[in-house]
């Protein structure tokens, strides 16, 4: 197994930087996800690692060795493509055997290693079928077997689950995790699905407009995203710009004013907003951390800090809970909150935002705008 070091890698297409000074390290045997919205440069990064495109700046090292002078066929990688890219006129067996034949592996060893790989990915006995005779999930497994059979140093996967239906996707997620654990292959996985990234990864690299916006293990990135952008992409529904007040209060919280003091929220001060100039921060809280109950109209001071009265604007039932949009005076946008209880549209509710659940986030540098990509 080898680690992958991507340092300061850039790639320019015509008039835009598809990726710009991207750096991250995928430790040997780890599972790293590249997460980001469409067009942020995930595929390009993967293609640069694979050698399908030449990089304009920076360096890629695999197992400590720079690979920039090596063509794709000498990098010993496995690649799984979004559309699987199975060879249509070859049987499953020939597809999987392709890499072994290029490596001049003996006939008998090829047969046994192909069988082993087909077994590893949990394919039933379909070796003599053609790709078009397989279901999407089966094609997916063939693509994995084909990439793994050559015992690659690194496995690159470009949104391999995105063409599957929801149920199969959830199933393949477990399969992918099992296969990666059994083979221990260093894996770099591209996705725009935060759930996939969170469930599969040892490390998540969040990308934005061709750059890395943050990189951390799933738990860390979930609990304390590096910036407002990362939080937004990881599904923090409520994000408000705010300004941190002076000093900590007696109860160990700091006061943060939202919208020029129209509302003040108290935030547990053990979350230092580092790298935030002018005390400008973004407040973030997940919908499920907000408690919702019927408002009794009484003064909310007795409820401790961060009790806000609001009006239900809209709700959606999601099976396990109800998601509410609540208009609160003083906040620039409605709060998104989830609750078990049902309230009708127009109901007066009281929201409670626990100081420990509010994240103080670094606002995104304005320099990361699209014009910077030209």
């Amino acid at each position: 197994m080898s680690d992958v070091e991507v340092s300061g890698v850039s790639k320019r297409y015509d008039d835009l930087w598809a990726v710009k000074r991207v750096s991250f390290t995928a430790p040997a045997g780890s599972f790293t996800s590249l997460l980001g919205p469409s067009g942020c440069g995930k595929t390009t990064t993967l293609r640069l690692i694979a050698g399908f495109a030449a990089l304009d700046e920076g360096e890629v090292r695999i197992g400590g060795k720079p690979v920039d002078d090596l063509p794709p066929w000498r990098r010993n990688l496995g690649v799984v493509f979004q559309n699987y890219a199975l060879f249509p006129f070859m049987t499953v067996f020939d597809n999987v055997a392709f890499g072994l034949r290029r490596r001049k592996v003996s006939r008998s060893e090829t047969a046994s290693r192909v069988a082993e790989a087909i077994d590893l990915v949990g394919l039933p006995d379909l070796a003599q079928r053609y790709p078009r005779q397989l279901s999407g999930g089966q094609q997916q497994r063939v693509a994995l077997a084909r990439a793994l059979v050559v015992r690659p140093d690194v496995l690159l996967l470009d949104e391999p689950l995105s063409n599957l239906d929801a149920k199969l996707r959830a199933e393949m997620r477990f399969e992918l995790k099992r296969i990666q654990r059994e083979t221990g292959v260093t894996s770099i996985f591209v996705t725009h699905d935060q759930e996939e990234a969170l469930t599969l990864s040892d490390q998540i690299v969040v990308m934005n407009l061709g750059t890395v916006a943050g990189a951390a293990p799933p738990k860390a990135i979930w609990e304390q995203p590096e910036s407002a952008y990362v939080a937004d992409f990881l599904g923090v529904e409520n994000l408000f710009p705010g300004t941190v007040g002076d000093g900590a209060a007696d109860d160990g919280t700091v006061a943060v004013s939202v919208d020029d003091g129209a509302a003040v929220l108290h935030v547990a001060a053990d979350r230092p907003p580092d790298g935030t100039p002018d005390r400008a921060v973004v407040l973030g809280i997940r919908s499920e951390e907000i408690a919702v109950r019927r408002s009794d109209g009484a003064d909310n001071a007795s409820d401790g800090p961060n009790a806000l009265d609001g009006t239900v604007r809209e709700f959606t039932y999601i099976g396990s809970a109800v998601v509410y949009q609540v208009d609160c005076p003083g906040l620039p946008a409605p709060l998104i909150a989830t609750a078990q209880e049902e309230f009708p549209v127009g109901a007066r509710v009281r929201l409670h935002l626990p100081p420990g659940a509010i994240k103080l986030l670094r606002p995104d540098a304005p320099a990361e705008g699209p014009e910077d990509r030209q």
Binding site: A50, P71, L77, N83, A85, F87, P88, F98, A147
Partner: protein
């Protein structure tokens, strides 16, 4: 309304089929039939049947020499046209470059410009560079120029089915650029190559317009020679040769279909 179009559409197809029968198939049948005449002049229906004009064709020196010229020219120009077509289609399918649109037009222009103009232009060029006596070479060049757009077109459209990721997959598995092409792309575009080659070969083998300009004295193609014989000889030998050409072209079609064509389409 849709029904009306459907009905009139069917009517239209019937009419077109009739036209096709009357104007294309009927003359061929007439030619074929009259080539078996026993008389010394062309007439339909023949007063009696014989194969004497076929024997006459096989015994004629001009038939054989120009036949071999035509075969050589068709085989060589088709081969070159296919190779150029693959190369150009690959460039068009894989790369975006400045002037791509212009390149597309340039390479397809022989489809738009009339054969007479192409032939005349090529003749002028060959006179200019004093190669007008190298008849065979001129014919090969001329036919290649005119048939390459056909091979390019059909290879290009068959490349649409071979996604770049197939080649990249092959490369990541250890295939060099070259072997990725031969092992993965080539098998996928064989149908396009076969179709293009059939069109190029039949065009070259049957062309009169361009070849008439480029045929030097010692390098004439069968159709060009046939034309002048039809003009000057009233006997039915040219009819027999024409019939043979139809048979050869058909046989070529079937041969290619059976050997390469069908094998590729099967089990896909």
């Amino acid at each position: 309304m849709a029904d009306f179009f459907l009905r009139s559409g069917r009517g239209l197809v019937t009419v077109m089929a009739l036209f096709w029968l009357v104007f294309l198939v009927a003359p061929i049948v007439v030619t074929l039939a009259s080539s078996f005449t026993s008389s010394t002049y062309l007439t339909f229906p023949p007063p009696g049947w014989s194969v004497r004009w076929y024997l006459s064709a096989f015994e004629s020196e001009w038939v054989w020499s120009t036949f071999w010229n035509s075969v050589v020219i068709a085989v060589v120009s088709t081969t070159i046209a296919v190779a150029l077509g693959i190369a150009a289609a690959r460039v068009l399918a894989r790369h975006r470059f400045y002037g791509r649109g212009a390149f597309e037009y340039a390479v397809l222009s022989p489809l738009i410009i009339p054969g007479v103009v192409v032939g005349f232009a090529l003749l002028n060029v060959s006179v200019l560079i004093e190669t007008q006596d190298a008849g065979l070479l001129n014919l090969i060049i001329g036919h290649t120029m005119v048939t390459t757009p056909f091979t390019l077109r059909s290879v290009w459209s068959s490349m649409a089915g071979s996604d770049i990721s197939l080649e990249e997959a092959a490369q990541s598995l250890g295939a060099t650029r070259w072997s990725a092409f031969w092992l993965i792309v080539f098998p996928l575009i064989v149908p396009g190559i076969v179709a293009g080659a059939i069109i190029a070969f039949t065009f070259s083998f049957n062309d009169v317009t361009i070849s008439a300009f480029l045929s030097a004295r010692e390098a004439r193609t069968l159709p060009v020679e046939l034309m002048s014989h039809i003009e000057y000889l009233p006997d039915p030998t040219p009819a027999a040769v024409s019939s043979l050409m139809i048979v050869i072209t058909l046989a070529f079609f079937l041969l290619v279909e059976r050997t390469v064509g069908l094998g590729v389409f099967a089990d896909r």
